[in-house]
């Protein structure tokens, strides 16, 4: 065994051993005491390129490679430290100012201590991951110094010393060691070692020890572009000095242990807090204990929870139960005139809010004769904040006029784009520059004495309403990864680039186990202008009278090897995002639009599903193979339809397409018979000018037979593949399921249909639902059925990817498609799940060995979780983009359109305009001036107004509205505004 790699002699333990003891409590509430050994050593390098001593005994890995040293020999200097400096931030500095550390203009040569890293991991995993990412980037020069493993810098926690004090001491000790250690190098200019901390006591003690210390604010202000960076310093640290008037506006949150005990005892409930899109003071929380969500009403009960946070609630006494609000309350309108500076002095609930609440109470009490108050709850604590970065703009009315010049710091409000997020208070010195811009901010804290959360500015995206800024804003808002592909990813592409071809010789390794299907008459059918062609089809009659049908999918897995940089990037992106004017690719365009794309007239690698079907479209047999194909033509849906309909075309390709169409109709019929739902969402297409991509017009999407042709065969292929990979990998197959919706989801809709239209919505099975939806028709009103379908769709669960081992077989069912098992296989260029399915299918047919990442269940589950989120976000971003462009298309125009009433409140109603696929809110005060008196009958969903204008609005009613765009001068926000013409 001479080939065995041998280890070097490990040095005799000169080290000391210490123990680290800590106590943790498990999820079930048990307390565990954990003891860890710590081996203290003297060979952990300082990693400064100045230091020769450390370089000599730098540690080596098993391949005998030492890690290169990180910290530069000539670090940048500042006014205070002209000789150059290394930074040593403490935990709070990193926690509050991560965005600063990621800046490219400053913050180089940073020493991250192990103490800091550990504490950060405890406090926030996302920040920890960002910091680790920074330490891996070469140009930022971040070095992790394991101070708790180095003998000289190790600090034992003293008797009666708190963990925080111990950590602060450890940081100071490490700073001291670094300073002394660097002094030993005897070079001419020794860089200063500067501790960054916001803790006054820590800084004070550092001064006593003769160390360099600075607060973030002081430090940043000595930098060159300090003013700009200063805004990014988190708010919490500076708030210490200037207020504390002691008036607490919100009740205190419970301690974690109190919440856990409460939840365990069933007296409190944990869940994700969500805010009503129509009323910012009304939230709801779905908890496992009750079938229906609990209501949370009012600022005080919401108690600083923000949409998405995981909170614990307590049910309120029955006399405080209420009906859900039938009123629209918008934060912007009600709190318009609040002053950002005079925060603490006001009462928690402002006068106007109080008034809105009074009306609410009146309403409830009037309705209480029917007596259906719903249980309400109040938030008693937050388990986990789900804060992200928010996009918004500064409320111009909150900025005082005087500050348009000068550099005085002042408080302003930021109105987030997402209506569910409350206003955020910012402190900035550059109000004048930031007004009218799209901004990215993060929330730092929400203290009890502050009515609004406090945040800080991250960066500006550009002018409001410019295409670039708005597009970036919605990408950020939906967390879409839109940065260009890094070099490591591009390095994974084939070297030939665009000249890559299927090898001519069938002896080439690329041809291994591939079937030559080049002589089949294959074509692709896609939307107009589609560049990333995932799929192509063919059909031919077999001698025995059956049909051979093939679905050919781009063989992306041939180019994207598992676990390389490109694969990792794709798995993070999860899906391609389609915006009106832009496509954010999952894979580099070379692959997506060229090498993988099944373009016509060229040879391409494909993954083929080949069926033999009989006259009734029943499967005689199915097989899967990797192949090489040559598409004969790329049709658009319209072209394909015309060609099929044209009787004069009698060539084999057209005949094949007719066969496909015939079979697809049979498949569809079978699916419908099995109870598949045809659902609906308002879909429109924005037509843009080709040069400037300015929107010209909005069209509703048309559906042709050929659309459903392609769709049917894709579903068919997906189902066949799902069965195959589940058979091969019962534990790890990647599948897609659509849960049956809980019955209660349909309660409201079926009630509405029963009362308003006398129709019955049956929801006991997907078949029953499909049939009853078919019966929901109003003569002479074709859109009514679509409207009901749109509303039914909103009651459904969303479909999700999952790993087969995590669910029992009956749970695999796809409710909407009425299929027992389903996966995504047909769009690997734009969806990561399909790529995984390709790999699993390739392994299932013994084409290649299964890669570990495709069969480790934990990893697959993590991937599924990510792509589910990404998929949803991509849809939302796409819709937001359409909404923005519809608004732009309407700019300066006024249109009169038909609309349907979807939802009714006591002071307004929501209409859907089918022509534009947009929903709009019409409030009573928009109807006439002064606001008409109204009478709202919640039982029959009718709103009758009297006085200045008399109309009667009912649910599902068809109304005429005037649609025009509108810019709110106060907020600078452009939106679509609707006015009722006639009911």
């Amino acid at each position: 065994m001479t080939s065995l790699k041998r280890s070097v002699d490990s040095d005799v333990f000169a080290s000391n051993i210490s123990n680290k003891t800590y106590v943790r409590s498990t999820r079930s509430g048990k307390v565990q005491k954990i003891v860890r050994e710590v081996y203290l050593r003297t060979d952990i390098p300082c990693s400064s390129k100045l230091c020769k001593a450390c370089l000599a005994d730098a540690p080596r890995n098993a391949a005998q490679e030492a890690q290169p040293f990180v910290l530069s020999e000539k670090p940048a200097g500042t006014k205070a430290f002209p000789q150059g400096h290394y930074l040593v931030p403490d935990t709070n500095a990193v926690l509050n100012a991560m965005d600063l550390f990621e800046q490219t203009s400053a913050f180089y040569d940073v020493i991250i201590l192990q103490t800091v890293l550990e504490e950060l991991r405890n406090r926030s995993l996302p920040l920890y991951n960002r910091l680790v990412g920074l330490t891996k980037s070469e140009d930022k020069r971040f070095y992790v110094f394991f101070n708790d493993f180095r003998q000289e810098t190790y600090v034992q926690r003293g008797h009666n010393e708190t963990v925080n004090d111990r950590n602060d001491r450890a940081v100071r000790k490490a700073v001291k060691w670094y300073a002394e250690h660097l002094a030993q190098t005897k070079t001419k200019s020794i860089p200063a070692v500067v501790m960054l901390s916001n803790d006054k006591e820590n800084l004070h003690k550092a001064k006593e020890d003769g160390l360099n210390g600075s607060t973030l604010r002081e430090y940043v202000s000595t930098l060159e572009d300090g003013d700009r960076l200063l805004d990014m310093v988190a708010e919490v640290e500076s708030s210490g000095g200037f207020q504390k008037q002691g008036q607490m506006l919100y009740p205190e949150h419970f301690s974690v242990s109190k919440m856990m005990t409460g939840v365990k005892a069933g007296l409190m409930h944990q869940g994700i807090f969500s805010v009503s899109p129509y009323n910012y003071l009304e939230g709801s929380i779905k908890v496992p204990a009750f079938p229906k969500p609990l209501l949370i009403l009012g600022r005080e009960n919401i108690n600083r929870a923000i949409d998405g946070d995981v909170v614990v609630v307590e049910v309120l006494p029955q006399d405080q139960w209420k009906e859900p609000s039938t009123k629209i309350i918008e934060e912007e309108a009600i709190t318009k005139n609040e002053n950002a500076d005079a925060e603490g002095s006001q009462d928690l609930v402002s006068e106007k809010e109080r008034k809105a609440l009074q009306d609410e109470v009146k309403k409830t009490q009037k309705g209480s004769s029917e007596g259906r108050p719903q249980p309400t709850a109040k938030v008693v604590g937050v388990v986990r904040r789900n804060w992200r970065q928010y996009v918004g703009h500064i409320d111009p009315s909150s900025a005082s006029r005087a500050t348009t010049q000068g550099r005085k710091q002042d408080n302003v409000f930021l109105i987030p784009m997402d209506k569910k997020i409350p206003k955020i208070r910012l402190r900035t010195r550059q109000t004048s520059e930031l007004l009218g811009k799209r901004l990215l901010v993060t929330i730092d804290a929400w203290e009890r004495d502050s009515r609004h959360p406090v945040g800080h500015f991250v960066r500006s995206l550009g002018e409001l309403e410019t295409k670039a800024a708005e597009t970036e804003a919605l990408l950020l808002e939906w967390d879409v990864q839109y940065r260009p592909f890094p070099k490591t990813v591009l390095d994974c592409l084939p070297k030939e680039g665009h000249d890559w071809k299927v090898p001519a010789s069938t002896e080439d390794p690329g041809w291994r186990d591939r079937e030559d299907l080049r002589d089949l008459l294959i074509c692709s059918i896609d939307p107009v202008g589609c560049q990333d062609i995932d799929d192509a089809l063919h059909a031919q009659k077999l001698p025995n009278g059956n049909f051979q049908v093939g679905v050919h999918i781009a063989d992306v897995s041939n180019f994207v090897r598992p676990a390389n940089a490109m694969d990792t990037e794709a798995s993070i992106r999860g899906t391609t995002v389609y915006l009106v004017d832009k496509r954010i690719d999952m894979l580099p365009p070379l692959l997506g639009t060229n090498l993988c794309s099944l373009k016509p007239y060229v040879e391409r690698y494909a993954f083929s599903v080949l069926w033999e079907l009989n006259e009734n479209a029943d499967i005689v047999n199915v097989r899967f193979t990797k192949s090489v194909i040559k598409s004969r033509e790329a049709f658009s849906y319209e072209e394909a339809q015309i060609r099929i309909d044209d009787e004069s075309q009698q060539d084999d390709l057209t005949k094949g397409m007719r066969m496909l169409l015939m079979l697809s109709k049979k498949l569809k019929q079978k699916r419908m018979d099995a109870g598949a739902l045809s659902l609906s969402s308002p879909e429109v297409k924005v037509q843009t000018e080709s040069e400037t991509s300015d929107p010209i017009d909005v069209k509703t999407k048309q559906l042709l037979d050929t659309n459903s042709l392609v769709e049917e065969f894709m579903l068919f292929a997906n189902i066949s593949v799902a069965a195959k990979i589940y058979d091969a990998f019962p534990q790890t197959a990647i599948l897609r399921r659509h849960g049956a919706p809980p019955k209660t989801n349909f309660d409201e809709l079926s009630e509405q249909l029963r009362i308003k239209c006398g129709m019955e919505l049956r929801t006991d099975s997907s078949k029953a639902l499909a049939d009853s939806l078919d019966r929901c028709v109003k003569p002479g009103e074709p859109f009514f059925n679509t409207l009901v379908r749109i509303m039914a769709t909103r009651c459904m669960m969303s479909a999700e990817y999952f790993c087969s081992g995590t669910q029992a077989y009956p749970e695999f069912r796809h409710y909407g498609l009425a299929s027992e098992i389903y996966t995504h296989f047909t769009s690997p260029i734009r969806r990561y799940a399909d790529l995984l399915a390709h790999r699993q299918l390739a392994a299932a047919i013994d084409y290649e060995a299964v890669h570990p990442s495709v069969r480790s269940r934990g990893r697959l589950e993590a991937v599924c979780k990510n792509i589910n989120v990404r998929h949803r976000n991509a849809q939302m971003a796409g819709r937001a983009s359409i909404a923005y462009y519809v608004g732009q298309a309407l700019k300066g125009k006024v249109a009169e359109e038909d609309a349907f009433v979807m939802k009714i409140f006591s002071n307004g109603f929501v209409v859907l305009v089918p022509r534009f696929g947009i929903e709009g809110l019409i409030r009573l005060r928009d109807l006439a001036e002064p606001e008409p008196e109204s009478d709202f009958d919640a039982e029959s969903y009718t709103l009758t107004t009297s006085g200045s204008r008399e109309v009667k609005v009912e649910l599902f009613q068809k109304v005429k509205v005037r649609v025009h765009d509108h810019k709110d001068e106060a907020t600078g926000k452009r939106g679509v505004k609707m006015e009722l013409i006639s009911a």
Partner: protein
Amino acid sequence: MPLDTSTYSLALLRVDGRRWNELRRLHAQIRIQAAADGSSYLEMGNTKVMCVLTGPSEPQQQQQGQRRGQATAGGGKDAAINVSIVVAGFASVDHKKRGRNDKRTQELELIIAKTFASVAHTHLFPHSSISLALHVLSADGSLLAALLNAATLALIDAGIPMSDYIAACTAGSTSSYAAADDSADPLLDLNTQEEQELPFITVATLGETDRVAVLNCESRVQVSRLEGMLAVAVDGCKEVKQLLDKAIKAKGAKMIREGAAEKSDAMAMDLDE
């Protein structure tokens, strides 16, 4: 919560501050219990085990079948080796009691019994049995390795002839199976946290040779990493053997000094060591 094993790549330091090829502190003692025929106490880091040996003695009448870990080479010609392991309730963090019929414990018993049946010269003691009672006082990773080492010491203490020491240790790999990272370093002597997060093998060799007596792998690991892990483990075993040897010699020297044993002429050992 302290850092996890993924930080190794940041500075080539493991969760407890060791490098990839370092053993934990190993402390060994023999003859800790005068009443037993052989006994030992061994610590590998925070893994602490004790072994008490009885035998060779007449076998208990009909040892309740073959239930407990035992290995006989048939017909009673060789001595039977019976191993029983008791894991103390306080040995691990969760304070979970392992019952007598715990399958994992039984498997460990069987591995240990089989290993020593092949190394000890059991044919010298026909129709007799050797019972090893192993007690786990504290479990912090590399449990099987520690048990094997402790059993070796007890057997030596009891004076049962063996062809060589059995020296054992574990080896792992710095990144998990699914990470598919081919540049992963091998690791020596894993603690609990590392065992939970990383793939690992347990290896025992015959003395300082390259002959592997035990190779046990319960986690999924890439074949390409196995060679490196095995090489590191074999080297680790040699180190362990030297440490065990030192403990035995120290005890021997002490006994001679105290007059508990006589110095034989054939002994080339230096007492002043």
